[in-house]
Symmetry: C2
Subunit: 346 residues, 2 copies
DNA sequence: ACTCTTGGAGCAAACGATTGTATGACGGAG
DNA sequence: CTCCGTCATACAATCGTTTGCTCCAAGAGT
């Protein structure tokens, strides 16, 4: 037999040091790449060998306590069940892990009190940095975060008062691609069913819609713009019903996100209308399964994984260099054309 | 002004003790519900007041180091991007948080080496317990886990050698509901497109299918059983093509999960067949959007959130009482009947 | 009145690492 | 031969808690 069954208590640095016949401090320096230069090569080899032999794993708690760095980042997300967030979280996790960081995710359910409590919990856990996917345009929590001095970045959404850097999809460009696509197909009476204006994505996509319509020489009809109360299928359906109720003709709709677009599908079905024959629909975000709906949903894909990756990148930079020059990052979207958009028949 | 801008360094227990005019150890006991009884009520009040006044938050690192408990649980998941897992993770997180525990999730991508590395990382982080959603029937990693003595539970999948408790959906019952539903509709030539037999859900659903078919007096035709290489849409499509290639007639299919069922949709479309007119299809898990496919997918819903909740429950019990009597937990599924199943026309 | 018990609080040693400072040896220069 | 600089290592403090032990005083029992 080569090794005994796993020891109940993992070996400590002191034990490694003893096994290598050196003082713990020497062992520490030998093991830490940062201080390797302070010990002779010979003893470094000894220590490393002993560490490997004993299966030494530094106790991250002790290290964290001493260094007051936990190598942990926290993330607040409205609800990980929303398919937009898992790919972002994966990107973040993958990037953080490369630097030995761990990610802790908590769900706020868009509840102010819960948000605050979870933030406190993160602080109590002494996370080294914070990633917020929960920002609203008015976001008082952010004051507490910045006041606490905790490095922080926003993802996917930003705030009106932007003192904190954010990594986002370029929604202006994305909506532009959607509008251009519809215009090229021949649509002129294009509607917008936006998402709540309380979050930045809702308002940005709304403004971009107006702006791009005008750039294409189309005067956006206020009657053809409805705002869904939230980024949800049922809220989207309600907004679509309102849109139809207004009685103004339209042949295409740019939606605030994919769930709203699905709500649109439901309402078209209710009214016996066909997509894309009667109405073309474009979603946003390109969450999974858009290929499987019928018709397959044309949508603006945002690089979710990479957004996560880059936001982690940014957080790492800010954590190591506290006066790193801050800037928002807007990643390029790409329109995925599928079956829900076609030339207008009217 | 009531308070100054947040202090750079949060107050320590010693500072609270000093403010209350007592020794740190007394302050500790006063603050800890567990040891509150060891100090007089009067001083307890003093200490609590001082703690509140200073905004004291115990340093979880120091506590963890001293107590060698981190109040953290780790979770290994194949890929959080799979919509099955986020609701489970939420259930876990919500339950853990009630006891002051934090959940750390890591994605293994079904990669053995990555799995092992992430397990090591969890150990290095000194998590108090581990939740594995990554089990395969043969699962060598589990030996290391049990050898390490780390409390551990499985979720959604279990292993052949079941020394570790698991919380699962009751797949036998779920498949039974699916088969019974189809039989009641009048189907007799029912096929099964299962998932990989390398994981317990694949093999359990397969065996249950055979068993329930026989219980309904139907002799399952081996030609009508195909195993998809993985629980993915494209692998499911391949399996469906194989099923058709065998040339044996069937009118309904029980699928290993919803993605495989979607692969079935694709193949039916390829062949110009209609669901449910030509073939009825039942999925499994009832992941989101089943309502939005066309036809809406009939599927066996497993209580994902509650599975997570209960697995966390179990882990907490095991952690606090190391010889808690172990048992697997099978939660009741429920068949969600939608448009993809109908009476056979042949 | 004396001892015994008991409750409350302080002391100090952990937990396991990192790191500033002190110490020792050794080699070269004057 | 002495002195000094340098390099490698050892020493010890520290991070912020928890907790076994000791100690003291006050109240109860006889």
């Amino acid at each position: 037999m080569t090794t005994r069954s796993a020891p109940a208590r993992p070996p400590t640095l002191a034990e490694v040091a003893q096994a290598a016949g050196v003082h713990p401090s020497t062992a520490s320096r030998a093991l830490n790449a940062h201080t390797r230069g302070k010990v002779s090569d010979a003893t470094a080899v000894q220590v490393v060998a002993a560490a490997r032999r004993l299966g030494y794993q530094p106790n991250s708690l002790a290290r964290a306590l001493r260094m007051s760095r936990t190598f942990t980042a926290g993330m607040l997300v409205p609800d990980i069940t929303n398919p937009l967030f898992p790919p972002i979280a994966r990107g973040i996790e993958d990037r953080l892990r490369r630097n030995g960081f761990t990610l802790v995710i908590a769900n706020t359910d868009n509840d102010d009190d819960k948000e605050r409590a979870l933030f406190e919990a993160m602080v109590a856990r002494r996370v080294d940095g914070l990633i917020l996917a929960t920002a609203r345009r008015e976001y008082p929590l952010l004051n507490e975060v910045t006041a606490s001095g905790l490095p922080c970045v926003l993802v996917n959404r930003t705030t009106d008062d932007t003192a904190v850097p954010a990594v986002l999809g370029d929604d202006h460009a994305g909506v532009g691609q959607a509008v251009r696509h519809l215009v090229k197909l021949g649509h002129t009476r294009i509607a917008h069913v936006g998402g709540t204006q309380a979050v930045s994505t809702g308002v940005t996509r709304y403004n971009s819609f107006l702006s791009w319509m005008r750039q294409h020489g189309l005067d956006p009809d206020p009657q053809l713009v409805v705002i869904a109360e939230w980024f949800q299928e049922e809220r989207g359906a309600e907004a679509f019903r309102e849109l139809f109720a207004r009685g103004v003709d339209f042949t295409a709709v740019v939606c605030g996100n994919d769930l709203i677009a699905l709500g649109g599908y439901d309402v078209l079905r209710e009214r016996g209308l066909s997509c894309p024959d009667d109405v073309s629909i474009v979603g946003y975000n390109d969450t999974p399964f858009n290929d499987n709906f019928s018709p397959a949903l044309t949508s603006v894909r945002i690089p979710q994984y990479h957004i996560g990756y880059r936001v982690a990148d940014l957080l790492l930079k800010i954590m190591e260099d506290s006066d790193y020059q801050l800037a928002d990052l807007h990643l390029k979207p790409q329109l995925m054309v599928r079956g829900s958009t076609a030339q207008p028949r009217r």
